[in-house]
Amino acid sequence: MKPAPFDYLAAKSISEAVEALAASGGDGKIIAGGQSLMPMINFRLVKPTILVDINRIGGLDRIEKHDDRLRIGATVRHHMTATDVLVFEHLPILQDAMHHVAHLTVRNRGTFCGSVCHADPAAEMPMMTLLLNGTITAWSVRGERQIAASDFFLGSLVNALEPDEFVTSIEIDTLKPDTGWGFEEFSRRQGDFALACAATTLRIEDGVARSVRFALMGVGETPLRLAAIEEIIDGKTVSESLLDQVSEALNDFLQPNTDLHASADYRRHLAGALARRALRDAWKRADLRKGKTDD
């Protein structure tokens, strides 16, 4: 379990990093926390010719709030996201989600942006980026471009980046003070990748749910943002019969994988159960937070 030979560059700036990537002709890889990449190169599943280390590039280790969006830099570690004050105040659902991510040692190294780039269909941060209308900022020798989260996840471990692009930050929505949220995940052990997970946010207006966001992970090739489910809930009271409707709808169109840990049928069952729990929580929280505004 030793990697094939590779070159290594500790980039000092964004431009140095993107130039090295361009020069490698598509065979170079960025290394951020290394928590997904290292196992893959040790198993020789990938054999990059050069690793471009971005950890020494200044200014990327910040979480900042711009209007009602949070911007998360490329070297922000999971531990920071999980304990950040802005996240605590404005994105409690993300804080919930981060508690399910791996173990302390992994959280001290792994990065939010690295996780999104890795695009594991059962990882929390890709799903949260999708749920929260994320925008991915990517740099290359050609300059900067923005990619919407909805266009970013193409398949299991496949993203929309060109091989020479470097994600410098990701922006996601914060939650309005009157927004309720629910995050429900099930995994075999604490910190494992999810067998299934549901995340949702909604507000209550005139006794019905509005601004509904709903996403799932672990039950498809990519994280799923499900507009069809959002439509079912929008404008309704979250009641047990509505939840029945949601799990029936999920049952009809989810096509999860069967793997060692869970069959497709069990995953479908789990998705329904977790969706119900998450929606109940979101409704309850929205009810408690009703009428709250930024002041």
């Binding site: 030793k2 099930f186 840990h261 869970a262």
Partner: protein, 797 residues
């Protein structure tokens, strides 16, 4: 306390104290020294090309450009090594058995995915792995039966043609007339229990380093083994080297759980290569190799049936077991070790007249099974304890009461079980009671019932078992095996500086033996703890040792240490009596000081040692004796260690995740040398048992590929999987051996799978399903519930 105080019995003893482990400072500060920490000058590294075929003939091996990789020194396949080694043969006197020869590399055929085929030796492991990519092996795939139910059939493809069968183990135990007993039995229950394949996952992977001394023509093997003595003895034959030119050392070893107690191909390989190349050669298994090449565990299918009376008395038990032993019979334990113990321990700690237990051990294209903490008994206890609770449920009796009626009682010891095991005497009943008292069982039942009323799926499960530990020469640990598992030797020497060396052939790889054996010696010899250096894990220390396994080291090592310490103490006192001009009966030694009843005169151990060794003529020549002793202990029989585990679990009604709410172990391990270490052993073993119950499973797919090839797929318990564990120590009548110790290293692994399976079954009882396969994963619960729901709803329409 003055030295004239002769209330010797009141002096504090170390046995029984929570003495901090003397090995911990080096482990905790990162200065432990494992095989991988050693890098002698000129050392070479080995990487192995392993089979990707479950069963195939090797047609050709092409090394391609492998030699062009910088640093590659040599490449070998089996044919290159034929003249360098004789195979190890795991012989047994068992009728019908076939001993599969063990070679360093696959010869002619491969028999499991992961079997070593080609060895590349290079200046670094990186270079060796780079070169591996150039190796091309052409195989002719052969038919195979990957599941034991298929491999056992008469027309199944044979893995070892020479054996003429895949079924290399057959054994039956019986007593009474079991079939008639069943015909007349008022109540019977039966199940088809499956304990799936596990592996030990020691934190340190297997690691070997061989050094050839060209000058002395001798070999030293540093190995992460639990049994360096066994490895020395077998390699002596394989390599044709006498013990004087072959030394096997197990330095610090990071856990074994049984899996490092057998001979491995890679262990032979590094020795051969070091001798061939006259350079040190190291092989360190990585985790991928560990999960596909280290011996595995269990893998039994147990069809068992229990007959009881309406008032809850056991009548008889019959069982048919197929054990999947993998591709080879492991050395020295053989494939009978795990399999035969399933049926010999199946009747458990219960009184029962009629029994028949049959086992067939079959070869399949998987890594060999071998010793794993608990050996056989985790499986047998799982099946038996499930049957016990099924029977209790059927006759409407509380499972605690049911056990109370059938566990062997104090006055019935020694009790001979239906399979012939003798339980000397142990606190069977007291452990059951102890566990129940600890949790306030009647109250716990009320708690469970209240939770159920509220719609939660909560259940209580128990497991009672006994195991045979500290086995002496009367019986072999594995039936018919060619090695001596019945004795251990301790050599104690006080040197000229007054320091004490206590040497054992045993190895300590997590058990804390450096501390506990020293505690025993302190009490026997009267010295200070810090004056003792316990040496272990080195074949040159004593003439013969089979190592640490089967819950034997405290009993056999502690016994040998006691005997040797007594001899040394007598020598010390004889010398002191001369020096102090006192009668020997008036002397005693405590805390390293020899004092006399009749005077204020004292001598330290150091002074006595100096007088004996250094001060020429101080003791007359004909009275002078070295302060040394070497004693061997053979407990002859074994002693029972018994326990009851009790747990309460909750199954999530929607996700089917299992959470352990309460856990208690009540156990009798005889005299406790160090309660802290015993607690640690119980905690660790219960964690491992919880792994077997809920998480761990080695899976081979129908193509014979292992699909649990990383720790993301082979799930071991993590901190959050393990609850607080209450421990009740019951020191009942001490066993009749030197020291009164019972072995206790394995117990937790034996009880936990059964207790958890029973608790989950109890939690799901209202749904008409129960646990027959471990681990009981959320997926399995989902499938069980779906399978029972489908026909039920069909009936109702």
């Amino acid at each position: 306390m003055s030295h004239n105080d002769h209330s010797v019995e009141l002096r504090p003893k170390l046995v029984g104290e929570r003495v901090k482990r003397t090995e911990d400072p080096r482990f905790l500060t990162g200065v432990g020294r494992y095989v991988d920490d050693m890098s002698p000058a000129g050392m070479l590294h080995v990487a192995l090309r392993r089979s990707d075929q479950p069963h195939a003939r090797i047609i050709g091996i092409d090394v391609g450009e492998a030699f062009s990789v910088p640093g590659v020194v040599a490449i070998y396949d089996a044919s290159d090594l034929d003249k360098d080694v004789k195979p190890a043969i795991p012989t047994s006197r068992m009728p019908g058995y076939y001993a599969t020869p063990i070679w360093p590399l696959a010869r002619g055929k491969v028999r499991y995915v992961g079997e070593p085929v080609v060895a590349i030796v290079a200046e670094s492991r990186y270079a060796a792995e780079d070169a591996l990519e150039h190796i091309n092996i052409e195989y002719e795939p052969l038919p195979f039966a990957i599941r034991q139910v298929d491999a056992v059939k008469d027309d199944a493809p044979l893995l070892h043609e020479e054996a003429g069968t895949n079924t290399i183990i057959r054994r039956e135990f019986k007593r009474g007339d079991v079939d008639t007993a069943f015909e007349n039995a008022p109540v019977t229950v039966k199940g088809r229990f499956r304990m799936t394949r596990k592996t030990a996952v020691a934190m340190e992977n297997r690691s070997y380093l061989a050094e050839w001394d060209q000058r002395k023509q001798s070999l030293t093997l540093h190995t992460s083994s639990g049994s360096p003595g066994i490895i020395r003895d077998v390699l002596s034959g394989c390599l044709d080297l006498p013990g004087t030119r072959l030394r096997v050392i197990a330095p610090d070893v990071g856990g074994s759980f049984g899996a490092k107690g057998s001979l491995y191909s890679e262990e032979m390989l590094v020795c051969i290569l070091a001798r061939k190349l006259a350079r040190p050669v190291k092989y360190v298994s990585d985790r991928l190799e560990d999960l596909s090449g280290t011996s595995q565990a269990f893998d039994e299918l147990i069809e068992a049936e229990l007959a009881v009376t309406q008032d809850g008395t056991l009548i008889g038990l019959r069982a048919d077991v197929i054990g999947d032993v993998g591709a080879y019979s492991i050395y020295p334990w053989t494939a009978a070790l795990e399999t035969v113990q399933v049926v010999s321990f199946l009747p458990g700690p219960y009184r029962m007249e009629h029994y028949r237990g049959r086992i067939r051990g079959v070869l399949t294209p998987k890594p060999p099974t071998g010793p794993y903490r608990g050996v056989g008994r985790p499986s047998s206890t799982f099946a038996m304890e499930r049957l016990i609770e099924m029977a209790a449920r059927k006759i409407g009796m509380d499972p605690v009461e049911f056990r109370r009626r059938n566990l062997v009682r104090a006055e019935e010891f020694p009790y001979r079980t239906a399979s012939g095991i003798i339980w000397d005497k142990s606190a069977f009943q007291e452990c059951l009671q102890g566990a129940c008292d600890f949790v306030d069982y009647p109250n716990l039942v009320r708690e469970r019932d209240a939770a159920r009323k509220a719609g939660r799926w909560v259940g209580i499960g128990l497991a009672s078992y006994a195991e045979l530990t500290g086995i002496g020469s009367r019986i072999s640990v594995a039936p018919g095996m060619p090695i001596n598992t019945g004795t251990e030797t301790s050599r104690i020497e006080i040197d000229a500086t007054g320091a004490i060396t206590a040497a054992f052939g045993l190895s300590s790889h997590g058990q804390g033996l450096e501390t506990t054996l020293a505690q025993v010696i302190v009490d026997e010899l009267g010295c200070k703890l810090e004056d003792i250096e316990v040496k272990h894990g080195d074949s040159s220390l004593v003439p013969m040792s089979s190592g640490t396994y089967a819950s034997r080291s405290a009993v056999l090592g502690g016994g040998a240490a006691t005997l040797a310490a007594r001899v040394v103490k007598a020598k010390v006192l004889r010398a002191a009596a001369y020096l102090m001009e006192q009668s020997i009966e008036d002397l005693d030694i405590y805390d390293g000081i020899i004092a006399s009843r009749n005077s204020n005169q004292t001598l330290t151990l150091k002074e006595v040692a100096s007088a004996v060794y250094t001060q020429m003529g101080r003791i007359p020549r004909d009275q002078r004796e070295d302060l040394t002793a070497s004693e061997t202990y053979d407990p002859y029989l074994g002693t029972a260690c018994s326990s009851t585990h009790l747990t309460m679990v909750e199954v999530d009604t929607e996700t089917y995740g299992v959470r352990i709410l309460r856990y208690v172990v009540a156990e009798d391990c005889g005299k406790i040398i160090n309660p802290m270490i015993v607690d640690g052993q119980v905690h660790g073993a219960v964690a491992q048992g919880i792994g077997a119950a809920l998480l761990e499973e080695i899976v081979h797919d129908d193509q014979g590929q292992v699909v649990t090839a990383s720790l993301a797929d082979y799930l071991v318990p993590v901190a959050t999987s393990v609850p607080n564990i209450g421990i009740v120590h019951i020191e009942a009548d001490l066993p009749n051996n030197v020291g009164g110790f019972r072995g206790m290293g394995e117990g937790g692994t034996i009880g936990a799978p059964a207790a958890v399976a029973n608790a989950v079954s109890d939690a799901l009882s209202h749904l008409g399903v129960s646990v027959e396969t471990l681990p009981v994963t959320p997926e399995r619960i989902f499938q069980m519930l779906r399978d029972t729901n489908t026909p039920r709803s069909a009936n109702s329409t």
